[in-house]
Each structure stands twice: as C-alpha cells, then as structure tokens.
Amino acid sequence: MRWACLLFPELALDAVLRRHPSPDAPLALVTGPAHRRVLYAVNTSAAALGLRSGMSVTAAQAVTTTCMLTEYDEEATARCRRLLAAWAYRFSSLVSTDLADAIVLEVAQSLMLFGPWPRFEAKLREELTDLGFRHRIVVAPNAHAARTLANLHDGLGVDDHAMERALGQVHVESSGLDVDVATTFARMGLRRLRQVFALPRDTIARRFPRTVLAHLDALRGADNTPLTCYQPPDWFDEKIDFDHEVELSTALLFPLRRLTSDLGVYLSGRDGGVERFVLRFEHEFVPATQIVVGLLAPERNPNTLFDLARGRLEQAPIAAPVRGMRLIARELPAFVPASRDLFDMRAQQAMPWEQLRERLRARLGDDAVHGVSMQLDHRPELAWSDTAPEKTTAAALADLRPAWLLERAIPWRGPAPLILAGPERIESGWWDSGDVRRDYYIVESAAGQRVWVYSPPNEVGPFMIHGWFA
C-alpha cells in the first residue's frame, strides 16, 4: 500500500477564489459571532495589505478599506472537499476524506495505469491547478504518515525506511497531536517525534489519553484500522451563492462555467454522463427560476455542457436579480463514448453530430431538429412523420408523390391548369373519423410548376393545392 496525501492548506479560501472573477483582488473570509467578527483567512494580496487571519474585522477595517470581506461558508468548503474526493476517485478506488484538510488516496494500484509516480504526480498537480486548488502532495506507506508529513513537505515521496527518518524529524507541534498533548511533550523536553517514539509504550499509555498512543501507532503504520472510503453519490448538486444580486446574465456565465466544469469532473470520476440537468436561480423575493437542460444522449464534456447551458440561459427569461445559482443533476446514465471510424474522412476539427444537434436544440428549441420517416397510411398528411425512422424501411410506394407537402392545402387560384396525370383516388380513414375522399391530379401551372392538387371525388375542380413536385 502506498498512500498519497493531497493537503489543501487554503481550502476555504480557494473555494471562494476559484469562483471569483478577479481572484487577485484582496479578499478575506470572515467568521465568528456578531459581536466578535474575526478574519478566518486572507488571500495573498490581502496579506500584503497587512491583514492576518485571526484579526478582528474592526482592526482589519482600520488597516484597509479596499479589502473585500466575504462570509466564511463551512458548507461550501465541505462541498469542495466532496468535489475533490469525486475528482480523486478517478485515480483510485480507495479515497478517504477522514483526515483533516486533506484527501488521501491509495496510489500503488493506480501507478500501473497512470505511469510512474513523477508523471502521475504532475498530472494530479496540473488538474488541481486547473480546478483552482492550492495543494501539497506527499506519498508515504501509510495514510496518517503522509498526512503528517504533508504539514511540512511538498512533493516528498518516502518508502518505509525513509519514512521512519522523516517522521523522526517532525516537531511534535506539527505532528497532528492535540495542542495540549504537544505542549506537554515539549515541556518534557521531547521536541521531535523521534524522541517520542523512543519512549516506552507503557509510560505513554499511563500518562496520556489512549488516542495519543493510537495516533503514534497510526503514524508508524502499526494501526490497521481502515479509513472510511469515499463513495461517490448518485447525483450532483452544487450551489454558488452570490454576495450581491446579479442583474446581468453575462455575469452568470463565469460561475456557470465553474458549475458545469465541476459537473464534468464529477461525471468523468464516476465514468458517467448526464442526460438532463436543472439550473435553479434563486431570487430575493420571488420563487426560484428553473431552467431544464435536456440532452438527447448522455454527455460529459465540460465545454459541451457549458455551451448547452449557456444556450438555454440566453433564451430563458429570468424573473428577478439572482442571489444564488444551483446545478442539480439526478439522471446520470452510463456514458458511452461515440465510436468513431479510425479512417474517417471528415475534417480534423469536425464537431460530432450529437454536439451540433444539442447546440441547435439549445437555441432553437427542443423539437427543432427532427428526422423524417414514412408511415403506413394512404392519407398523404399521415403518410409521413417527424420522428426518426426505424431501421426497417417501409415498402417503397409505387405512386408518384410530391417532394414538398403543404401543411394545409390551399385553394388553386388562376387559370385552369394543364392536367398531366390523374385522377388518383385516395379514400381512407373512415375508421378513425379522419375520413378522406379525394381525387388527386398532377397538374402544371402557367408558370411551369408541377403541382399536386386534389378535388372532390368525381369532379375536376375546384382544385386544392397539396404539394409541389420540386
């Protein structure tokens, strides 16, 4: 077993910044009860202005007024952790969020697929940077040791032997022990874990709570209690709250892109696609607006999902300024990648038909793209339908039929036409009260058009135009 610990030292801050259009502007998270508001975390540019976490808000406002203050949202941070777990699940089946501020995943099994560790690590780092999370990565033979070493190191990889030595160097304050226990050790003159490990077990057991010995055992890999493994949920539900009311739909696009790319990450983690998702826009006083995005086939490409969602968003009326945006996807069928021909002649940058079809539907409406098929009926208006044809084609008709059919027949105007063929009697539909009795003729107009007309049975005229032979 070999565990990688991905430590997110600034998770709460990153959870806000990654959705922020200008992440470099000074920003601080605020927490605490109303009478004692303190800064929870500050970003780099806020720190440059002299703000520190733990500072009271009044003090911070005395230092600078340009810093934006945002409420620390514990729930949003927890959601980010779940998203990261879902992302990590792509790389390993053993992913755990048990350890504080971090995600650990078992990587020994994954190395076969993702290549030697340096390449795998580079991939993890690249994707985490794309997702917008600062991180530290450490690999060790057990998860707890990896977590503790991540407090001090970044990019460290140790085997059993090196782990003992590396752990021995760790100061007790940063070893993951409780603060008062660490202080006690320090006062006993035990500054590094090496010295703590050298103590006889029974003295530790006598003087300290049981958890201390358990933690020390876990660090050395002697504790075999398994971690709770992450199981991806069967739905996706993400939410972004805005600090202020958003009035322009263009301002919604940036958060929308984050949501759809998170959805894409989540979907590829569970190797699924999405067939239908709902965008909910929450308002201050009026009920939430819902936009349903339906697809004909499961999809998971983040860009496609964003394009489609944007197409729907641009069309949809939104009742009021938006306070929050939520993306819910419950139907997550298995994703079957479209099979492509290796020797396909089409251009390289070609867009697959499925994507084009969804783009057209997004702008023109759900029923804008349809196929045509034949139906077994003699009545011309019922002999076609706008559904996609079945595999089996109906038997070919022997009679000539026009290429264009008029939705509704219109009366013939002008001089009497030249009859080229006919009459052809069509008499059908008495069983479903759509009774039709007509004599059809093929005629030529003065302008040279070939027209399909009908007249009442046994009468030549007046004619009704029903189609064009084009």
């Binding site: 994507q355 702008r363 045509v372 039929r401 040279g448």
Partner: protein
C-alpha cells in the same frame, strides 16, 4: 522563399484564368447525376466544400430533383443531409422513392435569422455532408458566411433563392438558374471555368 508560389500550384488552385477551358485535373466533386451538367462543371460535379446557389422562378419547378441523385449517393454512403428551415414539409415517401436513405436526413425548424445561423452551424460543424437552406432575404455578407462555413466544414451547401436575385453578385462557387419553359437549367457562374453558353435540358418529367 515562402512568398514565391509555383505556377503549377497556382494553376492547380485555379487562381489563374487561362482564357480557354483547360483539362487540368481538378479534384472531382460529387457527381450531380446529370451527365450534361457534370460535363459543364470544372469538378465534373458539385464544387466540393463550397456553396451552390440554385435560382428558381417559383416553388415546384424541379429544384430538388436535380439534387436527388447526389443526395441519394451521400446518404447511401452514410453521410448526413440536413435540411434547414424548408419552405414546406419534406414529404418522406417521395424522398424515399428518390433513393434517399431516410435515417440520414435531418430537418431543422428555424425562422429568419435563426435559420441562417443554423445553416452556418451545420455547414461549419463538419458533421454534415450536405446542407440545404432557403436564405430568402440573405444579403451578400450572409451568403459569404455560408460559403466560408462550407469551406471550413468541407460540406456541400445548397442555397435556394429566387431568380430575381440573379443580377446580384454572389460569393457562391456555383450558380444555377432553373427555367421552366422549356425545362432546362443554365449555369450562371462557376468558379474555375467559363460558364457554358448553352442551357442544359432537364428531363421532361423528373420528380
């Protein structure tokens, strides 16, 4: 010397007009199915990856029947034909009778500017082998967009327009006008060759 172009290359790309018909091997286009028309066109068929304009005096004068052999060929080969905002219902039995494989035929409902947008998207995507559209009020710029989209997506674009627009300039690679009395078509413009002076007869009753 990247700026220098070889003469052969320029001739092959048909950027030099030589004054008389040449027999330089042009990339063969998809046959129109009309032998006389094929013979008149430089690619021996529809200009590949380009827009073709079909000018008609009215609906129902055989404008689709000149496309049917090639559309049937495309759908038989597994290509996709998209009909964007047709003026009437494409009547399935008749299209089937013409040899078109119906699963390869798709219709897009759209109106006005959306129809132009949809046609451009379809042409540009590279997912469609042929796109039929009816840009009634399209100006020169809109047609040029369609032409560029057809080049990008390597698709055959067919734009049906009124014969009244004959005198307007058009960026289409090929312009064909259909006449009814007698039933014939004229090549008004074809890029890469002189349009033939004589009209090409259409079969007297070809649906």
């Amino acid at each position: 010397m990247s700026a220098a172009l070889s003469l052969d290359q320029m001739l092959a790309e048909r950027r030099v007009w030589r004054g008389q018909p040449t027999h330089a091997p042009a990339p063969r286009g998809l046959s129109t199915g009309l032998a006389a028309l094929d013979a008149a066109l430089p690619h021996s068929g529809w200009p590949p990856a380009a827009l073709t304009e079909v000018l008609i005096p009215a609906d129902g004068v055989g404008e689709l029947s000149i496309l049917w052999p090639s559309l049937a060929q495309i759908t038989r080969d597994g290509g996709r034909v998209v009909v964007v905002a047709p003026p009437y219902i494409p009547y399935a039995p008749s299209w089937h009778l013409a040899g078109i494989t119906l699963p390869g035929l798709h219709v897009v409902r759209a109106q006005g500017r959306d129809a132009l947008w949809a046609a451009e998207q379809c042409l540009r995507s590279g997912a469609c082998a042929a796109v039929l559209c009816w840009p009634a009020h399209a100006d020169d710029r809109a047609l040029r967009r369609l032409q560029v989209a057809a080049e990008t997506g390597q698709a055959l674009g067919f734009a049906f327009r009124s014969i009244k627009t004959l005198s307007n300039p058009s960026p289409a690679a090929l312009r064909i006008a259909i006449e009814t009395r007698p039933r014939q078509l004229r090549v008004v413009k074809c890029r890469g060759a002189m349009p033939p002076k004589h009209a090409i007869a259409l079969s007297s009753f070809s649906y």
